[in-house]
């Protein structure tokens, strides 16, 4: 089993794992600050919180992790603008439903002690305010 490395996450164990035919293996996947985990796939596995369990391994396989940057910008990874803040506000008010990717993008608050978006799995007023302020040049995330 080969865990794929990339930007925005850590996986443990991070090296190639040899598994007895038909057995299972578990990996721990966590996002790095500023990113969220969109999906983990491969090796017939399932994700439960940060634990990815690959079951009934019968062949070589790869584990792939897809991350999304908490940029606050719904169309690119650049600085958000006022339209992004409005979209986050509409989601907060229940007026629109965000995609899974957008739920990570707009979930920027709270910030880490170094000013990096951590998110808290909910779109709320803090996200809107943070995106509003970033849209006028406050902060550097």
């Amino acid at each position: 089993m080969t865990p794929v490395t990339g930007a925005g996450f850590s996986i443990f164990p991070e090296n190639v794992q040899t598994v007895v035919y038909g057995n299972t293996a578990t990996f721990t996947v966590n996002p790095t600050a500023g990113y969220g985990i969109l999906s983990v796939s491969g090796c017939n596995g399932t994700l439960n919180s940060s634990s990815y369990t690959a079951a009934n391994i019968t062949d070589n396989c790869n584990i792939t992790v897809t991350t999304v940057k908490r940029s606050g910008n719904g169309t690119s990874n650049t600085t958000p603008n006022i339209a992004d803040a409005l979209k986050a506000l509409q989601a907060y008010a229940g007026l629109l439903t965000l995609s899974a990717s957008e739920k990570i993008i707009f979930d920027v608050a709270p910030l880490s002690s170094t000013g990096v978006p951590l998110g808290n799995n909910v779109i709320d007023a803090a996200d809107v305010i943070l995106i509003l302020r970033r849209s006028v040049g406050i902060g550097n995330w």
Partner: protein, 183 residues
């Protein structure tokens, strides 16, 4: 001619003049309501709400913005332009005055048993945030005929005051309607 009879006629004419003069004076007084007389009650068409922070701002803490849901009494609505709340309805004042970030407002009209609401988010453009408590906004609302709401007629819920460093909610702080002026 009988002098007594002539005197009676003169008296009657004088009485008629007095009565007529009284009526004229009386009507003139009634028509002078536009001057210093008792004013007719004015119809109020606008409610101007003052929104302020509640609670105590902890030491070494700055505010990046606030959020609240304002529930409107029946007959009270915001001005709408092209389907959205007009730009002058929510004005940042007090400790948020001068922010270059416009107020973000979503209006949900009353429907059935549900009251109309305004979801409002205000943010300061000061990079370090605001380190004082007090008034944060004024809200201009339109009144239907005869409606005269008081501060207690407005509900304010889902309030958040957000820290400018961590963007967590500041515990112990909220937002309230501190005054209503009818105009």
């Amino acid at each position: 001619m009988n002098l007594k009879h002539m005197g009676d006629i003169t008296l009657k004419i004088m009485i008629r003049y007095v009565v007529l003069l009284s009526l004229i004076v009386s009507f003139t007084a009634c028509g002078g309501g536009g001057g210093a007389g008792a004013p007719a009650s004015e119809v109020k068409t606008i409610a101007l709400l003052t929104i302020g922070l509640t609670g105590t701002l902890p030491l070494s803490t700055a505010i990046s913005g606030v959020s609240f849901l304002l529930t409107l009494p029946a007959g009270v609505t915001p001005a709408i332009t092209s389907g959205t709340v007009s730009s002058g309805v929510v004005i940042l004042t007090g400790v948020l005055a001068g922010s270059s970030i416009p107020a973000q407002v979503i209006y949900t009209a009353a429907s059935g048993n549900s009251s109309g609401t305004l979801k409002v988010i205000l943010a300061t453009s000061l990079p370090s945030g605001v380190t004082a408590s007090g008034e944060v906004a004024k809200i201009n609302l339109l009144l239907a005929n005869g409606v005269q709401p008081t501060a207690t007629g407005f509900g304010i819920n889902e309030t958040s005051v957000i820290d400018s460093l961590t963007y967590d909610a500041i515990i112990g702080m909220g937002v309230g309607v501190s005054g209503v002026t009818l105009q």
